[in-house]
């Protein structure tokens, strides 16, 4: 049995290094997915020597330099160009830790499981950690688009909802409402079907600012809307392919796309588009995932963690499409619906799908 072997092996230093997987069948509660943040900004490993410390405390940042400004001009034979005193902006990318829970179990109780429960938790922990990476990333990109939206509205945080769009009271600069959302009769939290035209308008938010939209991020729920596009959107070849196999290409309207099932982090109705990472930001890994395991008397304890830093350096390199009509600006929250649009809290993630502990499984047989 894996768990029996686990208890024996953990008593030795060699055994702690790696415990081989022991087969076992069990029912999975939910899909776990690797990080989507890592697909938008591929992580780079850094070491201590790349970082700066503070004179006030013992934490680290990596300083990221931004491209300096420059321009050219036309001048006469006798004239001279204007001067530019060279200066490049810098931004700090700070590091913090993302940890799994600290798991504990008496070795005797591990024997009660046929499945390799410790191994399953260990493997799931890596994806749980990446889930928090995605939560952090989502909050940062949302802050970026909202900051630019405030700037475009004269420095005033303005509600972006169907009623304000009808009144012409808000500018859509970094956040855009979908066609069906902007014509909705009420401000609500219901995501409307994603239209091809919505995506084209989203791309234009970036493409019209000396940047190029390269990568879409959306939920599987929003992706499913694409499967409803008609022959007028797709043409007959793609339409017939999609009807049989789904959409199988690596790009959509010329842009790469990332789909996620994490609808408690990236809420349906929110679609982001990004430039290439070099125009956007950084994702640094100071310490890759470490796994600690120990046994004191009969109590086995284990925990995994990593140290990372994320930076959205160029807030203009991300734009957002909202397919719902309500206001998702966290500052204004004009319709009181913000909880539907932002990532759930950390302790609300990973809610159970199954209801076995509540007695809900069918047929309802119990051991007797």
């Amino acid at each position: 049995m894996f768990n029996e072997s686990f208890s024996t092996k953990i008593a030795t230093s060699e055994g702690k290094e790696k415990l081989a997987e022991y087969g076992g069948s069990y029912i999975r509660d939910r899909l776990r997915e690797v990080s989507y943040a890592r697909k938008v900004i591929p992580p780079e490993n850094v070491v201590r020597a790349d970082c700066q410390v503070s004179v006030n405390h013992d934490t680290l940042v990596k300083i990221v330099e931004l491209e300096p400004q420059s321009r050219a001009m036309s001048i006469s034979f006798r004239g001279q160009p204007t001067a530019r005193f060279i200066r490049g902006s810098r931004a700090e990318c700070a590091f913090f830790t993302i940890s799994s829970e600290q798991f504990q179990k008496p070795e005797q109780e591990l024997l009660a499981y046929n499945m390799p429960i410790t191994k399953i938790i260990e493997e799931n922990s890596v994806k749980d950690i990446q889930e928090i990476e995605d939560r952090e990333f989502t909050i940062h990109i949302e802050a970026a688009v909202q900051a630019l939206q405030v700037e475009a509205n004269g420095g005033v945080s303005t509600a972006l909802n169907a009623s304000n769009l009808t009144l012409g009271a808000v500018v859509e600069f970094s956040v855009l409402k979908g066609e069906l959302a902007r014509s909705a009769p009420t401000n609500d939290a219901t995501p409307r079907a994603l239209q091809r035209q919505d995506l084209v308008r989203l791309f234009k938010l970036l493409d019209g600012n000396r940047l190029r939209s390269e990568r879409l991020l959306m939920t599987e729920v929003d992706w499913d809307d694409i499967l409803t596009w008609t022959v007028e959107d797709n043409g007959d070849r793609i339409q017939s392919e999609t009807t049989v196999d789904g959409y199988k290409y690596n790009t959509l309207l010329g842009r790469a796309y990332i789909r996620t099932i994490k609808t408690d982090l990236l809420r349906p109705g929110n679609i982001y588009v990004f430039t290439k990472p070099e125009f956007f930001g950084k994702f640094y890994v100071l310490n890759n995932t470490k796994f600690y395991i120990d046994k004191i008397a009969n109590m086995i304890t284990f925990q995994a963690w990593e140290d990372i830093g994320m930076l959205v350096a160029n807030i203009a390199a991300v734009r957002k499409l909202e397919t719902y009509s309500g206001d998702a600006n966290p500052t204004t929250n004009a319709d009181g619906l913000i909880a539907n649009f932002i990532p759930k809290s950390e302790d609300a993630l990973g809610a159970l799908n199954n209801r076995v502990d509540a007695g809900l499984k069918f047929p309802q047989i119990t051991q007797y």
């Binding site: 503070s54 004179v55 006030n56 913090f96």
Partner: protein, 174 residues
């Protein structure tokens, strides 16, 4: 009179047995070191109804007393790791016994039914005090049985014999 320095709260007992828990700040701006009322290591925090950390007493007026269970902040002002997190969480000493040196105290004041800090093993309570020009939530002397404020610890070494720092051990009595 104590002074606020870079490091104001240091362990003199093993930190491993202490449950150090990160809580999101109800007011994220308090993690900004340039904020005039930024949080300082050794200040005392409590939890609000949203499970977020708030100062154990309001700092608007000196002498405000903490009336509920409170926990010391174990993070220096402006730490990068705290500010890098989207939720802006700060660690407090949440559960378990400990002994620490702190600069966040006022030994001379007598607040409510309290008393100045004068003796070893005197109980301590939490209140808003002024150190330098800043109002902070720190330790003051408890008055014993006549004092209704909760006890959060006991003096183990007086500042006069500890380089100006107050050494105390944890302990709770409501």
């Amino acid at each position: 009179m104590s002074t606020i320095q870079k490091i104001n709260f240091e362990p003199v007992s093993d930190v491993l047995p202490i449950t150090r828990r990160d809580f999101a700040l109800a007011d994220k701006t308090l993690a900004d070191p340039l904020n005039a009322v930024a949080l300082i290591d050794g200040e005392w925090m409590t939890l609000d109804s949203s499970y977020k950390a708030v100062r154990a007493a309001t700092i608007g007026s000196v002498g405000n007393l903490a009336t509920v269970r409170s926990f010391p902040l174990f993070a220096e002002r402006g730490r990068y790791d705290v500010r890098a997190m989207a939720d802006v969480k700060m660690p407090v000493l949440y559960m378990g016994p400990y002994e620490f040196d702190t600069r966040i105290f006022d030994a001379s004041v007598s607040l409510g039914s309290g008393a100045a800090i004068t003796t070893v093993l005197q109980p301590l309570k939490v209140a808003t005090v002024t150190i330098g020009a800043r109002n902070v939530v720190g330790l003051v002397g408890h008055g014993g049985s006549a004092d209704a404020s909760p006890v959060v610890g006991y003096v183990t070494r007086l500042p006069a014999s500890n380089g100006g720092k107050l050494r105390f051990m944890s302990g709770w009595r409501s």
